[in-house]
Amino acid sequence: MHALHLTVGSLALAALSVLGLLTLAPERGQTSDSVLLVGLADEPSSLDPHVATASSDFQVATNVYEGLVRFGDDDLEPAPSLARRWTIQKDGKAYTFELEPGVEFHDGTPFDAEAVRFNFERMLDERHPYRHTGPFPLAFFFEHIERVVVVDELTVRLELDQPFAPLLSNLAYPTGFMVSPAAVRRSGKTFGRHPVGTGPFRFLRWDAGQRIVLSRYGEHHAKPAKARTLVFRPIADPMTRVAELSSGGIDLSPELPPDNTAWFRRTSGFSVHETPTPHLWFVIFNTRKPPFDDVRVRRAANLAVNKTAIVEHVLQHTATVAAGPVASAFGDHAGSVEPYPHDPEKARELLAAAGVAGHKLVLLAPQSGSGMLAPMEMATAIQADLGAVGLDVEVRSYEWNTYLAQVNAGLGEAHMAEMAWTTNDPDTLPYLALRSAAHPPHGFNSGWYANLMVDALLESARQKHQRVDRAKLYQRVQQLVHDDAPWLFVASSTQNLVARSNLGGIVVPPSFLIDLRRAYLR
């Protein structure tokens, strides 16, 4: 009667031997030449580019789809893609695109003017038969399109209700990617799980929570991709992503924490690719409420905070100091305005002149959030710097969605709130968040800033579709807003992507839409 004795012992033994056996299971060796494993910060929620809003969705979609135009490799200037050329009507109210001939979607549907019409009408027309395949949260990128006219099979004209210069960059954004109308009709609401585009890779399969597999589209209208297969692995925990990269479980990964980027830079076998992105991290001042209703106090705060120290120590050089509302990644649109220097002495003088003393200020900060970098550490640094010039700051932190709901409704009791935006056109952020017509609930001007000159410049920049003319207007906006200081301008991040160094053909453009058609394993 040793049955139970044996059972307990053998259970333990079995457990141990299973452990032992399993170590003999096949190890992951070198991946075959053309399978690239990409780590993603999140599992995409939809691969329908008109439905998707998150950066992980876009990283995959960029390889499946193409838009009429695309962002450049080194800048944010729209370049030809599915449209080989285009003309803009003199008054800026109509854009005519000549489409690339002979292009087919992965399912064999021809890409033509009718397909373009289907794409925009699905997003914009409330009575469209495939409207239920939405919602389309970013459709307002194209809200000025009044009509899509099919001129002939390969010519399509977008007619606008008013001139809207950011249209081209919005078309290059994933919301402007072209989806196969036949596939939408076939898959309906599940199209986002069975994406069909014209891009360099075809969708193969999606194992929930594990991987999304794309394979090379051999009949691509331009040059087929080099890699045979792309596997995207969502790995939410950044430490796990780092571990997978160092153990060979993935070949490349975007969006690693600054500390780890520094480590990979020092370690052989990895290369760190970086690019400044059109991102801006700032603190909104409540300009309706003392003391920030006084421009001297807002400037004093900009002088008091040591942005260079934040960039170097908190962000570990993964960002640059910002000067105004137009990110430096927009090139000449940002002009040559210098950031506020770190000058606590001058800040104290300004505060004394404004008669500010004994205010208890509230700074709202999210615990984390899209584009927010290290919001709590940065809040603490800002709190310390403002404290050094005699401004007593209390930091209140919230979970991201709670935070957004609160800040987007407009600042009431709070004096300051952290915010970050990544945009694709110099128009977007100032137009949505600095105009007086964009006070909540109509826009994101949560600090209630108002300057009629800025309003007028932004409106007129939308009417100018000549690049040089637009740039001049944004340079003036940059200077005016810098001087008015409705925000504390802190930093623009550089996006990073870490890849194993045997990976070639990696291009990281400022749009951070990483197209892997040129990537290969050496």
């Binding site: 457990a15 594990q210 993935i250």
Partner: protein, 320 residues
């Protein structure tokens, strides 16, 4: 017995109803909703109102709850806002990996816990007992996610014996079922060990305490006095009596394994329910949270139920 089972099933219905109601009210009370989460930084109050209308989120709370309940009774748990797919399909797809992980962790924890606990109990006060007690104390007091990271660092990166994360090799598209099973088992070792350690600690401590106590009872002395062999006394009579007190603890650990899986799943990128629910809460995906929590609640009630039945079959002293 039939009355007992009927009562338990009735309580299951009540628990599920209560859980869904609480989840519905709590998630609705959170600031932000699926509309703000979907719009992200572009959520102006105006756009939120529009999107809320198109997602049918503009009804009152009781209206929406009863609409949901009506559909749920007919087996339709609604569509996830953030994933745009039927909730039932999503949670069932994620349930299997979680069940596999929790069951392996519990199996490992139980086997280790019973073994270590019995070894310690039969030699109370010795060095062996103290060492085992210490080890189980460490197991009980160390958070699973920390064990997870240490295991990953040592066995995943330094020694390279096990994959760092995931459930399958990501670069293999087609493989035979045997290779797939071995592959999944290979990936399962680290997360199951991380999650199982805590259970092992708790079960070992409980086993030791129960067995020590049983071994000092009169009926054990009687068994010894009537000439039963020592190992027979220890591992048949005493162990069985002690086991009836350990089984409910194992049942409780099953609940913890289901809950604790959320951390471990996040660290090891295990494609299970826990990770899904954490994301769903951040996305304010009310219906997905609802469906997932309901499923976990049902499972938990069923496990407790099963535990009771097992306990009854081991120990006739437990009343029907």
């Amino acid at each position: 017995m039939i009355r007992y089972i009927t009562l338990r099933l009735l309580s299951l219905v009540l628990v599920v109803f209560g859980v869904t109601l609480v989840v519905f009210v709590l998630t609705s009370a959170l600031p932000g909703d699926p509309a703000t989460a979907l719009l992200g930084p572009y959520a102006t109050p105006e756009r939120v109102v529009d999107l809320r209308r198109s997602l049918a989120l503009d009804g009152s709370l009781p209206e929406r709850y009863f609409a949901w309940l009506g559909h749920a009774l007919s087996g339709d748990l609604g569509h996830s806002y953030s994933l745009g797919r039927p909730v039932l399909a999503i949670v069932l797809e994620r349930l299997r990996p979680t069940a596999l992980l929790a069951a392996s962790a519990l199996g490992l924890g139980t086997a280790l816990g019973l073994t270590l606990g019995s070894l310690a109990a039969v030699r109370p006060g010795t060095l062996c007992d103290r060492a085992l007690t210490f080890v189980s104390l460490v197991g009980v007091s160390t958070p699973a996610f920390w064990i997870a990271m240490v295991l990953m660092l040592v066995f995943g990166i330094e020694l390279g014996l096990f994959p760092v994360s995931g459930m399958r090799r990501a670069d293999v598209l087609d493989s035979s079922s045997l290779v797939t099973v071995v592959d999944i088992a290979h990936h399962l070792v680290l997360p199951a060990t991380a999650l199982g350690m805590v259970a092992a600690g708790v079960i070992a401590r409980m086993t030791r305490a129960a067995l020590v106590e049983v071994l000092s009872t009169d009926y054990v002395r009687l068994a010894r006095a009537s000439g039963a062999g020592e190992s027979n006394v220890r591992y048949v009579y005493a162990f069985r009596a002690a086991l009836s007190r350990v089984v409910p603890v194992i049942g409780l650990q099953a609940g913890f394994a289901l809950g604790g899986a959320a951390y471990v799943e996040t660290v090891f990128q295990w494609p299970g329910l826990g990770k899904l629910l954490v994301d769903a809460i951040a996305e304010r995906d009310l219906l997905l949270v609802q469906g997932g929590v309901m499923l976990v609640a049902v499972l938990y009630v069923l496990v407790t139920f099963a535990t009771d039945l097992v306990q009854r079959s081991i120990d006739p002293r437990v009343d029907a």
